[in-house]
């Protein structure tokens, strides 16, 4: 069939202008102009002019049958999808063409041409490769190249058998590495022995399935070896919390909400793909964790999410970036683009966008949560039954993401960056959005027996887990492919996004298919569940796999892990005294402009936080909506006042000093944030996400200490963990140097409140009101603080203000105050200390604050010229809160310690005194410039 090309350009191209600025900032200052042209390649016997209304709007776009980019002005690079791959836009082009009566259009592709004025050809190719395409699925199309057909084409390899017989340890390890299995020797030996027992060699697919299923990412071998998974779930079981519906057994955890509904939470990291390809990595991070919600019970609906990034400092000099790692500035800006690209079209409000830095995040932290909503009656899955259909829905299966599960379980180096780039892909949110719309309809019609998402390990993992109790038999010839060169094991292992697997009872199949058709969700029966307890699959007449489920799920060797106490070299803080008002000013501006305290809204506003119409409090609030709220409140049931409240705590600095103490503080901080807002800690659940270096005895020690700490604490305070995830691969190897992530734990709280109107926000309400710290505000609280980090120090201890019973007393006191209406604004103290709370409350209200720090702790005995004053203003008294009380309010009956520190003033300025002596006084607008500039410089 003839192939036509239609070229279009925009006469007002903000995207081109934006890329121009981006590329100039990211290594191509010589670029003087950038032009973008799209080329629609259209195959079929058709009148292409009839398609023009679809391809170009004449008001601002020009269409022609040949290129309009002048090659004399700069090198042109054309980027197209690989011949074996279907373009994401193809279905939309075909839909539009059919609407225009052009059914003769058989296939379509879209490529993009970029002209880089001022760059050499090699610079242009390099810039394109770095930022503009993903080589796994796309390529640069040579100008001389002619299409023969647009349809995906390619020749797959046959199923091959792989024998491990006779290989010694060294050969087994080498093979494991060479094939990107990254399986420990013990696993290779078990597979070798299995081959000998059953008397035939494995197929390539069988070994791939085994090592994928046994990867740390999927099987949590590290955690199992240390007994940690059990520890957390046993702690939760011991609490017997009446609101827990589902903990640690499904794709997410579930908590009873109101009126027969359940809310769910899940957090998932996607560190490896984000480190090597941030845009694709972050978008698929969101896609994956959202599917965990869709795959909870019989299908929950996502109602909110987070994006939490930890990177090296984006302001790092180029030469300081470890060889083989991407520049953190690039990781941050590309991750922002990726979050917007994926989550906005999904129509899910972004509740907590959080960006943090630590020099150890050479392999970055990329965490996202998904919050979901589901009727109680559908919150628990059934087991798939023999003869149930295995129904695959969503996108086609491609080459993308193969070996994601195993590669992400390995440590990372410059070498893996190149070798495992195939583990990364670009997500297509429209595909996921379609089934997110259809799943509640299927669910409410009673058509779903069971449902799970396809993430790490793809069909292998989903079908293997779903059929673990019964057996499953797949016919891989039925699976729709976007890449026709895939062989069987690649089809099994592909981590192509936007797919889910459903178990459907035979009598419901046609009804389910009708619902899916209506919402334009592709679906294919790819097999049936059996009663043979085997994982069977055939393809092109060949046996792909015939494994016993008992072996797959029972034979993974869990090796003992050596544990040894780490030798931490910690030094006590040695901070310079603050003597002059200039010193104080520099310190205060420094804290407010610190990356962890600064205004991160240039990222946050790029994400939709109000879609679904459920948002009561989003990421920013107060006057002008510039104040970070640090608490999100959603009213999921329309017309009802019930609220689901979420907060997160994540502080990478604390982990350097004492991982176990850090872990406790994160739990206390996250809960206190919600309690100050008026959420009862007895109506909350927790979600944990760990990120630790590649396992070594000292790392294992820290991991155990952290898990033990939070498991014990959760029992003592009665707030259960219901979901969590761990990644034990936070090590980057570069030029002989090992860079470990700090022991990291992010804690998310999900709570419920009967009336969202009762939630107390952070911004000041009225001049003349008094400012009070409730809880402890004395003791060493600068260890690991933002203030210490400004001086390049960590310190040797963390604030140890609260044990479990003190925390409960504090929360009870806060809740009693809240019930009595004693305070009108408040926030929990965290990074940036009391200062940041005061400043943010000023930003959110247009009011000011006057505080006397001599009434605080040690300042009572000391003078302003010592460092103690800094401790009071910048100390991170986790577990305590600053609140604003009305002038006549009496707090005498408060059961915990509290201190009055000052008052709200009408003048928008912050004034700090020690007794009668003023040591600092500046307008809030002055401080705002330090606060806003930091992040703005990063994202440009």
């Amino acid at each position: 069939m003839p192939i036509h090309g239609i070229y279009t350009v925009s006469r007002d191209d903000a995207e081109a202008r934006n890329w121009l600025g981006f590329l100039r900032r990211h290594g191509y200052p010589a670029l003087t102009d950038l032009a973008i042209e799209r080329v629609f390649w259209l195959e079929g016997d058709l009148d292409v002019r009839a398609l023009l209304p679809l391809l170009a709007n004449p008001l601002y776009q020009t269409a022609a049958e040949r290129s309009m980019l002048d090659p004399a002005r700069g090198p042109i690079v054309e980027i197209a999808y690989r011949p074996a791959v279907t373009d994401p836009e193809t279905p939309s082009i075909l839909t539009g063409a059919r609407a225009l009566g052009q059914s003769a259009l058989e296939f379509a592709r879209l490529s993009r041409r970029y002209r880089f004025d001022g760059l050499t050809e090699s610079q242009a190719n390099e810039a394109a490769a770095r930022f503009l395409y993903n080589p796994v699925v796309q390529r640069i199309r040579e100008p001389s190249e002619a299409w023969s057909t647009l349809r995906p084409s390619g020749q797959p390899d046959p199923v091959r058998s792989v024998t491990l017989a006779g290989l010694d340890d060294q050969a087994l390890s080498a093979l494991s590495r060479e094939r990107s299995w990254y399986a420990p020797l013990a696993q290779m030996k078990v597979i070798q022995a299995h081959e000998a027992t059953r008397g035939r060699s494995h197929t390539d697919a069988e070994i791939e399935i085994l090592v994928q299923s046994w990867s740390d990412h999927c099987y949590h071998t590290t955690w199992k070896s240390l007994g940690l998974l059990k520890q957390l779930s046993q702690a939760t079981a011991a609490i017997h919390h009446p609101l827990v519906v589902s903990a640690f057994k499904d794709n997410a955890g579930g908590m009873e909400f109101y009126d027969g509904w359940v809310v769910t939470i899940k957090g998932e990291t996607h560190n490896f793909p984000t480190a090597i390809a941030p845009f694709g990595g972050i978008s698929t991070k969101h896609g994956g964790v959202i599917r965990d919600t869709l795959g909870f019970g019989k299908g929950a609906h996502p109602i909110g999410g987070t994006t939490i990034m930890g990177t090296q400092d984006p302001r790092l000099a180029d030469e300081a970036v470890p060889a083989g790692a991407l520049h953190p500035r690039l990781i941050v800006s590309e991750s922002i683009r990726g979050t917007a690209y994926y989550v906005n079209p999904m129509g899910i409000p972004m509740l907590h966008p959080v960006y943090r830095i630590h020099p150890g995040y050479a392999k970055c932290l990329a965490l996202g949560h998904s919050i979901g909503l589901i009727p109680r009656e559908y919150a628990l899955k059934e087991t798939s039954q023999p003869a149930d259909f295995a129904l695959l829905i969503g996108g086609e299966t491609g080459r993308d993401g193969i070996h994601g599960a195993t590669a992400s379980s390995a440590s990372m180096s410059g070498e893996t960056l190149a070798k495992e780039s195939a583990a990364v892909q670009i997500g297509h949110p429209i595909t996921e959005r379609k089934f997110a719309t259809a799943i509640p309809v299927l669910r409410d019609a009673g058509l779903i027996r069971s449902i799970t998402d396809l993430g790490a390990g793809g069909i292998s993992s989903a079908a293997g887990e779903m059929g673990a109790e019964t057996g499953v038999e797949l016919d891989l010839d039925t699976i729709p492919l976007k890449d026709h060169s895939l062989t069987a094991w690649e089809i099994m292992l592909s981590e192509s996004q936007e797919r889910m697997l459903l178990a459907i009872a035979p009598e419901n199949l046609s009804k389910a298919e009708a619902v899916l058709d209506r919402f334009e969700v592709a679906h294919t029966v790819i097999g049936r569940f059996s009663d043979r307890k085997r994982f069977e699959a055939r393809w092109h007449g060949q046996t792909v796999t015939d494994l016993e489920m008992d072996f797959l799920w029972g034979a993974c060797p869990i090796e003992p892990t050596d544990v040894a106490k780490p030798a931490r070299r910690l030094e006590p803080l040695n901070l310079p005294p603050l003597e002059t008002s200039e010193d104080w000013s520099r310190a205060i501006h420094g804290v407010l402009g610190h990356y962890h305290c600064c205004d991160q809204s240039p990222a946050g506003v790029r994400f939709d936080s109000t879609v679904q119409g459920r948002t009561v409090i989003g990421p920013y609030g107060g006057r002008n909506h510039r104040m970070p709220t640090n608490i999100a409140v959603s009213a999921p049931l329309r017309g009802k006042p019930y609220g689901v409240v979420t907060t997160v705590a994540f502080n990478p600095f604390y982990g350097d000093i004492d991982p176990a103490a850090m872990a406790r503080l994160m739990v206390i901080e996250a809960i206190t944030k919600a309690v100050v807002a008026g959420v009862d800690y007895r109506e909350m659940v927790l979600c944990d996400n760990f990120y630790t270096p590649r396992l070594r005895p000292d790392v294992a020690w820290d991991l155990k200490a952290m898990v033990t700490a939070i498991a014990e604490l959760s029992v003592q305070i009665g707030v259960p963990f219901i979901s969590g995830k761990d990644s034990s691969s936070g090590t980057f190897e570069s030029a002989g140097r090992r860079i470990d992530v700090p022991p990291t734990l992010a804690v998310a709280v999900m709570g419920r409140v009967p009336d969202v109107k009762r939630v107390v926000t952070k911004e000041f309400k009225r001049a003349g009101n008094r400012l009070v710290i409730i809880g402890r505000s004395e003791g060493d609280a600068l260890g690991g603080s933002v203030y210490a980090d400004l001086h390049g120090q960590r310190g040797d201890c963390l604030f140890d203000g609260v044990d479990a019973s003190a925390a409960r007393e504090l929360w009870d006191a806060l809740l009693a105050c809240h019930r009595a209406g004693h305070y009108v604004s408040g926030s929990a103290i965290a990074e940036g200390g009391v200062l940041l709370r005061l400043f943010e409350a000023c930003v959110g209200s247009g009011l000011g604050a006057r505080v006397d720090i001599s009434v605080l702790g040690k300042a009572q005995e000391s003078t302003a010229d010592s460092c103690d004053g800094a401790e009071l203003l910048f100390g991170e008294f986790i577990g305590s809160a600053t609140v604003e009380i009305e002038s006549g309010c009496v707090l005498d009956d408060l059961a915990v310690s509290y201190r009055e520190i000052g008052e709200v003033v009408a003048q928008p300025e912050i004034e700090v005194k020690v007794g009668a002596k003023e040591i600092f006084r500046e307008p809030v607008t002055n401080l705002e410039s330090s606060w806003t500039n930091t992040f703005r410089e990063v994202v440009g």
Binding site: D13, A14, N18, S92, I93, G96, A340, R638
Partner: protein
Amino acid sequence: MSEAVTALLYAPGTNCHEETAAALERAGGQSELVLLRDLLSGASVLSRYQAAIIPGGFSYGDHLGAGRVFATVLVAQLRDQLTEFLDAGKPLLGVCNGFQVLSEAGILPGRAPGGHGMALLDNESAHFEDRMVRLLVSDERSPWTAGLSGRVLQMPSAHGEGRPLVGAAAPGCGGRVTFRYVDAGGGPTAEYPHNPSGAPGGVAGVSDSSGLVLGLMPHPERASMSVHESQDGFEIFRNLVRWLDHA
């Protein structure tokens, strides 16, 4: 409850239909979710409804241009139904992606399906942005804005392509600016961030000459419920229900 039923016309990728239904219900209106596909298959027909709203989202992934594929389907396959609906003097609202659909389809500003009177281009920042905006109602001859002239309404705006470009032929076709972004002082503004898209003249919403067809970028349905920070958007849905009750 009003007798009249409003169609909430949606397609794959539309993601604001449920909250739009909730806002309309609170205003005493009745609505039905109508998939574009159901109009194509004949399972439903526009003439059943007394009003229609195209809610926001990313219809068909916004492939080929925001609202383009949805508009192409409307114009090429549903033109007769659409024309009949418009000729019957029924109100039609496009919010965000719905406004992009109405523009791409030529229905705004000139009620000319297949025409090209205006387009909504990428924001000047080339980014999607969600922020609370203030909108001055600058024309109340539309049933949607009756009684609101001169009022400043606060509601969230959330889009990546909201910068209107009006064609040379458009001024004569009678379209009117219904909403403008205003700054803290209440004056129309082209300045960021009060005007997140960089829309010239602060234009945030446009109607046809009759005022029956309205498109606006910000989201009234996200400022309509008692739990919302602002309930100003509710006025627009209440106006629709009042108009339908008196039509």
